[in-house]
């Protein structure tokens, strides 16, 4: 479960274990503060500072920072429009999507900051172990699960507010189609076969929601964690120059993963705000 990068210290061998889970660095009562959580707080602090700076520099004639953010917002809104096909819907989903993007992006990038030397030395399973203060927030499954759960639950809540509780409920437990057996059977006798299948598909959708959580969280975690492993492995093999291209690769992966998560969130929110019949059409279009 752990990849070890060993460095020779004066008092013996000091190992930097790369574990699947975030390592604890502090304890507050019974709450364990891991290095991934610490990095996330750092990311939150950076976002707060940037937001406040941006707020204080907002002008009708934009400056450099404002210009950059306007370009980002415009491009992201355009991308959102391509998924939702509606500017009104995009404007409603956009604040959540862009927040997720920045949160994931900063967490991804902070994990690859060359500040791995700051940390604590603890006695681990294999002797003395170095635990860095910074570990990419998204390189901890807890962070990605939190984001995925919020995305899936948020999409359903958004659906309730957009199309109503009854329609959202019928996506999963399709009582409407079961009731249709009695009202439509004379005109469409095939409904006796179709309705139970549709009802069952609705139940599968419930499983699908859990699958969404699993896929979202494990995809992001897997990619970021693999990137960190790659960087540490390369640094262990050759300390200088060689890891640099991989650092740039990981910067790119950080953006791509943040983008993928955000776009999937927009897709889920759009599906949540769409009627069941339309929802199926959209899915077909996405597949095509």
């Amino acid at each position: 479960m752990a990849i070890e990068q060993a460095t020779t210290g004066t008092g013996g061998e000091l190992a930097h274990e790369i574990t699947l889970f975030a390592e604890p660095i502090f304890h507050y009562k019974d709450f364990t503060i891991t290095n991934a959580l610490f990095t996330s707080w750092f990311a939150v602090a950076i976002i707060i500072v940037i937001s406040l700076v941006l707020r204080s520099k907002l002008r009708v004639i934009p400056g450099k920072i404002q210009n950059l953010f306007e370009i980002i917002v415009e491009s992201a809104l355009g991308l959102c429009d391509q998924v939702t096909n509606s500017r009104a819907l995009s404007l409603r989903i956009f604040p959540i999507a862009i927040s997720v993007f920045f949160f994931i992006l900063l967490n991804n990038w902070l994990g690859i900051l060359p500040l791995g030397g700051f940390g604590i030395i603890e006695t681990g399973d294999h002797g003395m172990a170095f635990i860095p203060y910074l570990r990419g927030g998204t390189a901890d499954i807890n962070t990605t699960i939190a984001l995925a759960v919020m995305a899936v639950i948020g999409a359903n809540i958004f659906g309730v507010f957009s199309i109503g509780l009854w329609k959202t409920f019928n996506k999963y437990v399709n009582l409407k189609v079961l009731g249709g057996i009695f009202t439509k059977v004379r005109h469409e006798p095939t409904i006796i076969i179709v309705a139970p299948i549709t009802f069952f598909v609705g139940l599968i959708e419930i499983v699908g929601e859990f699958a969404k959580i699993a896929s979202l969280s494990f995809r992001l975690f897997g990619n970021v964690f693999a990137g960190e492993v790659l960087l540490v492995s390369m640094a262990a093999l050759v300390a200088y120059i060689i890891p640099i291209p991989f650092l740039f690769l990981e910067l790119l992966v950080g953006i791509i993963q943040a983008l993928i998560f955000s776009i999937l969130l927009v897709v889920y929110f759009t599906i949540g705000a769409t009627d069941h019949e339309e929802h199926e059409e959209i899915l077909v279009e996405k597949v095509v």
């Binding site: 959580l37 406040l52 707020r55 907002l58 009708v60 404002q66 604040p95 927040s99």
Partner: protein, 153 residues
């Protein structure tokens, strides 16, 4: 499930903490960055759209005014031409009438002159006749008186 939880150290407390972290990010970004930025961008877009609309309107107005100007100018030209032609016609008529009047007046003046001349002539002939008669009578008188004188002698 338990093995997954223990392998990945899945901890609901950390999950909750990360949810709170994201909540803070969302609220801060929305209140301090996205909302004011969006407002500003919308206002600017509206201003630009209004400016473009106004410019279009102005261009249309300019076009319409230019057309109207050309139309008025053309009308004025036609009218001026018409007035000029009418004036010319009127002037010609007046000229002809004045010429006619002048001719008539000249004829009248000539006739009147002729008449005066005739009168004068007649008067002069009359006067000459009277003078001749007087002279003849005077001469006759003188002759008679001289004959008488001779006789008296």
């Amino acid at each position: 499930m338990d093995s997954i939880i223990s392998t990945f150290h899945i901890d609901w407390k950390i999950i909750t903490a990360q949810m709170v972290n994201f909540g803070v990010v969302f609220v801060v970004l929305y209140i301090f960055a996205l909302k004011p930025l969006n407002k500003l961008m919308t206002e600017r877009s509206e201003k630009i759209a209004k400016g473009v609309g106004d410019a279009k309107k102005s261009a249309e107005m300019l076009k319409a005014t230019s057309l109207e100007y050309d139309e008025v100018l053309a009308k004025a030209r036609i009218e001026a031409n018409k007035i000029f032609q009418e004036g010319q016609k009127e002037a010609e008529i007046k000229k002809a009438s004045m010429l006619e009047n002048a001719k008539t007046e000249v004829a009248t003046m000539i006739a009147s002159g002729k008449k005066t001349l005739e009168n004068e002539k007649t008067k002069m002939v009359e006067e000459a006749k009277t003078e001749i008669v007087n002279l003849t009578m005077l001469a006759t008188e003188k002759l008679i008186s001289s004959k008488q004188d001779l006789n008296n002698l």
